[in-house]
Amino acid sequence: MSHPDVAPAAPVPGTGVRHILFPYADEDRFVHGALSFVDSALGAGEAVVVAVSGPRERLLREALTGAGTRDGVSFLDSGELGSNPGRLIPVWQAWIGKVAQEGRPVRAISENRWAGRTGAETAELRYHEWLLNKAFEQSPVWWLLCPFDTGADQEGTLRSLERCHPLVLGDEGPVPGADYAEGPYAFEVLGDPCDPDEELAFSAGALASVRERVTACAARHGLAGDRLRSLLLAATEVAANSIKYAGGGSLRTWAEGSRVVCEFRDGGYIADPMAGRIRPTIDQVGGRGLWLVQQMCDLVQIRTDPRTGTVVRLSMDVDAG
């Protein structure tokens, strides 16, 4: 296996992320591919950051120590990235921005946790992987290697990830992915609600009613305290957007497993796929609501279409926190 940056097939335009899917079948292959990637980066004087799960991190730390290159690599606590995929892009943006200020190109290895996630979370994580390509279109060039354990593949995750990565790491290095789909993204259809409460139609002046409905559902399922307040804040933001941009909307609430879910529907359209995924500046006008929504909730699912309108689902885990 050769390293990505010496592979003749790798595209070299002046901006953007080199987003490489790295399917591996066993630990040896994982270590070999990751070490090769790190060695090449350090040899070129580039910064390296790694965000992988606990067992993989230990494996890689040992291998790097054995190779004498451990000191040149920063490890991100993948736990701090949170479970909501909607929070991941700003984490990378912050890190890339910080290193870019030091004038060093960046290479990153990031392995998402796929096991133990709900179907809804997995779908959002796949979308996040696709959206990364758009999010960094104008950024300085950096490399992101995404290892994926093919032994743990479920429900066609690998196939769908191939549609999200422009490059795939093979035996001869990264090659353009044959299945990469530049867009538009084909979203999974949202699952059916589980015994939802009666729909609440709302318009201007009804934010308190929206919060009452969310509070009632949360109380029945044991969501309280700061996590309830966070969900209420998010619900207030989404309802306010429905009122502002669509004159109003509707709300349904229900519980699904250990999660309280709030679904908002309206006739508006969110044109910017990055809405809510970029940290706002203190002086910008507007654009803060969806950011808070993504940061406050355990999962946010947005489906928007200029013809049919927008659906926003907010999920909050009763047991977390």
Binding site: G205, R229, L233, E237, P280, I282, G289
Partner: protein, 253 residues
């Protein structure tokens, strides 16, 4: 510590309460007013009625005259051994210029501080039909108490909690943000350091937090200290990047 709440009737109104009574068309005011006055005699309060009495309107003609009457009344009630001054004030005939949101906020907040300090009971009666929607929200937002069932005005209440301290309770959301901005702006003209008790504040949404940050930056030499802010408020503030040297707001424990 004063807390904000609504009351279904004037019966439970107590010392230091400052009630907004937003009267709708055709609503009976005479009966509750008589009971309120009768309660004053029962509890040993000095009663001051500023409004329609026997067909003759003698409500306050200006905010200054209202404040002066209440201020003098509290001193006299104290001097003469009454439990408190009990005021029923019909403000429905204030000139339109005096019911602009910023004017309402300025004078009601001043009256609220007087009620908190002196223990006076103030019931401010407004005619809903005579006010703009913005003025209705402003009046309700700066009274700790309101008469009526269900939600009245914005989701928050801003009021005096003790000498030199103010409380904000409830929720500051997009629909109440402008009302909050106006009230906050008036308070910031009064003091270089505004202490805001947030123990009963559920949260502020992005519009509310932005108003707080903007108001603090807007007047040179002013600072806001938030006390007892909950985790959701702290997270929101931090997530929006408002923990910034240019924004003179400090979240105390």
């Amino acid at each position: 510590m004063r807390t904000a709440h609504g009351v279904a009737t004037l019966d439970p109104v107590d010392v230091g309460n400052h009630v907004c009574w937003m009267v709708g068309p055709g609503e009976d005011t005479a009966g509750p007013a008589r009971a309120f006055v009768a309660d004053g005699e029962l509890f040993g309060d000095m009663v001051l009625v500023l409004g329609d009495t026997g067909g003759t309107h003698r409500g306050p003609v200006s905010w200054e005259s209202f404040f002066t009457e209440v201020s003098r009344g509290t001193e006299r009630a104290d001097r003469e051994g009454f439990r408190a001054l009990r005021v029923l004030a019909d403000l429905s005939r204030l000139p339109a210029a005096d019911t602009r949101p910023e004017i309402l906020a300025r004078h009601e907040l001043r009256l609220d501080a007087l009620a908190a300090d002196s223990g006076a009971i103030l019931v401010c009666v407004y005619a809903r039909a005579a006010l703009t929607p913005q003025a209705i929200d402003q009046a309700a937002g700066v009274h700790p108490h309101h008469l009526g069932r269900g939600a009245v005005g914005p989701g928050f209440r801003l009021f005096s909690s003790s000498r030199d301290r103010w409380s904000v309770s409830g929720v500051v959301d997009t629909e109440g943000a402008e009302t909050f901005r106006t009230a906050l702006g008036e308070l910031l003209t009064l003091t270089p350091v505004l202490h805001l008790e947030c123990g009963d504040l559920e949260f502020m949404d992005s519009a509310g937090l932005t108003v707080l940050a903007t108001a603090a930056r807007g007047l040179p030499g002013r600072r806001i200290e938030l006390h007892r802010a909950n985790e959701t408020l702290r997270r929101g503030w931090t997530l929006l990047g408002f923990e910034h040297p240019e924004i003179p707001v400090e979240l105390k424990s």
